[in-house]
């Protein structure tokens, strides 16, 4: 089933058109990876999903992105509730300047969860889901800046999970991490797709091949090819896709 559909999406940074008539389904409870050479518009597309572009003046969308049949690009969408349905994990870990516990509770408190027991329960659950609980359970009160890079990234994932989003958007979220942390997060993504839908931008072809169910290749703001990961990597329709996934291009 498609949780989201991108329909003839154009996106403009002021005058510069960064996405050109992109059509793409996002399947529910699956991992879709976005690949393509630098500057092709992967981040731009990902940030359309949670309307991050609205933070800056001059940005403009055309077309449609539906999430459960609701057009999230329409003007009357409440961005605050939209962003609690689609979490985002960035390239560099972004722990907030507060304790581990408060980081995870941040989104819950925004949503007026005040009860102490309820907070503690959901913080624990999120940390367990993000495979971080055992490492931090004795230091929940410590500042999150003291965690390692890989732990910080899992902290951010836990923080996102705590508000029970429908989708999590990853933007090269393992590119700043060591191989072991990367592997942990990849395993985590596969585990998480039981509960959430994942869209992940990556430059790492092995990663895309290993973890994702569907792959979309972008080039110069357009969607070149989309399909299930296996066929994209073994019998792509376009010559360019073949060259890109085998590392001979881009």
């Amino acid at each position: 089933m498609d949780l989201m559909t991108v329909d003839k999406l154009n996106f403009f940074y002021g005058r510069h058109q960064a996405l050109k008539s992109v059509n793409l389904p996002i399947r529910k409870n699956a991992i879709t990876s976005l690949i393509g050479p630098s500057g092709c518009g992967k981040t731009t597309l990902l940030r359309c999903f949670n309307r991050m572009h609205d933070l800056y003046p001059g940005n403009r969308y055309e077309g449609r992105i539906s999430l459960r049949d609701q057009n999230i690009l329409s003007g009357d969408i409440d961005l605050i509730s939209l962003r609690s349905r689609l979490g985002m994990v960035f390239q560099k870990p972004t722990p907030f300047p507060m304790s581990v516990f408060d980081n995870i509770a941040y989104g819950l408190r925004l949503r007026k969860v005040k009860n102490k027991n309820a907070l503690a329960e959901r913080v624990e659950k999120a940390l367990k889901q993000a495979a971080l609980w055992d490492e931090v359970k004795d230091r929940l009160g410590d500042n999150a800046a003291g965690l390692s890079g890989g732990q910080q990234q899992r902290l951010v994932i836990a923080r996102t999970l705590a508000v029970e989003p429908e989708v999590i958007l990853f933007d090269e979220s393992t590119s700043a991490l060591d191989p072991i942390s990367t592997q942990k997060i990849e395993e985590l993504m596969v585990e998480l797709k039981k509960e959430v839908t994942i869209v992940a931008v990556t430059h790492n072809m092995q990663q895309a091949a290993r973890v994702s169910d569907y792959t979309a290749l972008m080039y110069l703001g357009e969607l070149m090819e989309y399909g299930d990961t296996k066929s994209i990597f073994t019998r792509p329709k376009h010559k360019m896709t073949e060259e890109y996934v085998s590392g001979r291009f881009g």
């Binding site: 962003r83 985002m88 941040y106």
Partner: protein
């Protein structure tokens, strides 16, 4: 190779001159500090903080209790007026108004305002808050001091907030936080140390001011928790007692000058130390 020689000579000359000037400046500064230290330490005792001025004929029996309290009240009131306005103003410049031309203009004007002589600010406040009411009053003094710290606090707040990386704000926005929660929970939390340091340094700046008070809250012998009339001021007292012909008043002025100097020095050291620690950590 030959043309290098005159350049080297000029270089040496300029360097010698610059070093001499720096040394002269430092030398004068040390003479002043040394003088304050020597005369201040000689004159200081607990009575300075516990008693009010005695008549000039009663040697060594008086103090400047009221003046300390009054100066404290003025500084505190100035901070209560200036800090919230300054922090909110700086927040506007760095957040809500960051793309606006007006913000850039306010920022530049604030930089200029930092170097307006304080006596000019005193005269300005005199014109709007003393003259129309017909008497010196504490509100005018506090406002004058607040006007002095305002641009300092606006600019430090702006700079400190600008140092908070955008990625952090984006992460909070991506959690669905509205802008005011991002500022309150994330930006202020990251910038708090820097803003606090700026406030300390701004208070250090006004703690020793005399000129703006001379025109506004002036001075008085007795402290009352009331800003509608003249308020006793330490710095104005120093100014008046130091110029008096009585020996015990002059020595009281030295003692008070010593205390003010130590206080300002203390605030500055704490402030700079905080900056250093943060840059390291």
């Amino acid at each position: 190779m030959r043309h290098l020689k005159p350049r080297k000579a000029v270089n040496a000359l300029i360097m010698t001159l610059a070093t001499l000037c720096a040394a002269l400046g430092l030398f004068l500064l040390f003479i002043i500090l040394f003088d304050v230290l020597r005369n201040g330490l000689k004159a200081i005792d607990w009575n300075l903080f516990l008693r009010d001025p005695a008549p000039p004929t009663m040697a060594g029996a008086g103090g400047l209790k009221s003046a300390f309290l009054g100066q404290g009240l003025l500084t505190l009131t100035a901070a209560l007026i200036g800090v919230p306005i300054g922090v909110l103003g700086g927040t506007y410049l760095a957040e809500y108004g960051r793309h606006k031309k007006i913000s850039r203009a306010i920022s530049i004007l604030s930089d200029i305002a930092v170097s307006i002589p304080s006596i000019v600010i005193g005269a300005f406040v005199y014109a709007i808050l003393v003259n129309p009411f017909g008497s010196y009053n504490g509100w005018a003094g506090a406002v004058a001091l607040a006007v002095i710290i305002l641009p300092i606090i606006i600019r430090t707040t702006e700079d400190m907030i600008n140092m908070v990386p955008w990625a952090l704000r984006e992460a909070a926005f991506a959690m669905g936080a509205p802008y005011h929660r991002v500022i309150w929970g994330i930006v202020y939390r990251s910038a708090a140390g820097g803003i606090f340091t700026g406030v300390l340094l701004a208070i250090a700046r006004i703690a020793g001011e005399t000129a703006p008070l001379l025109f506004t809250s002036f001075n008085s012998n007795f402290f009352r928790l009331n800003l509608s009339g003249p308020v006793p001021s330490l710095t104005v007292s120093i100014y008046q007692y130091a110029a008096s012909p009585y020996e015990n008043w002059v020595s009281m002025a030295w003692a008070a000058a010593f205390v003010v100097t130590c206080f300002v020095l203390f605030l500055n050291i704490v402030g700079r130390l905080a900056i250093k620690l943060r840059v390291k950590g």
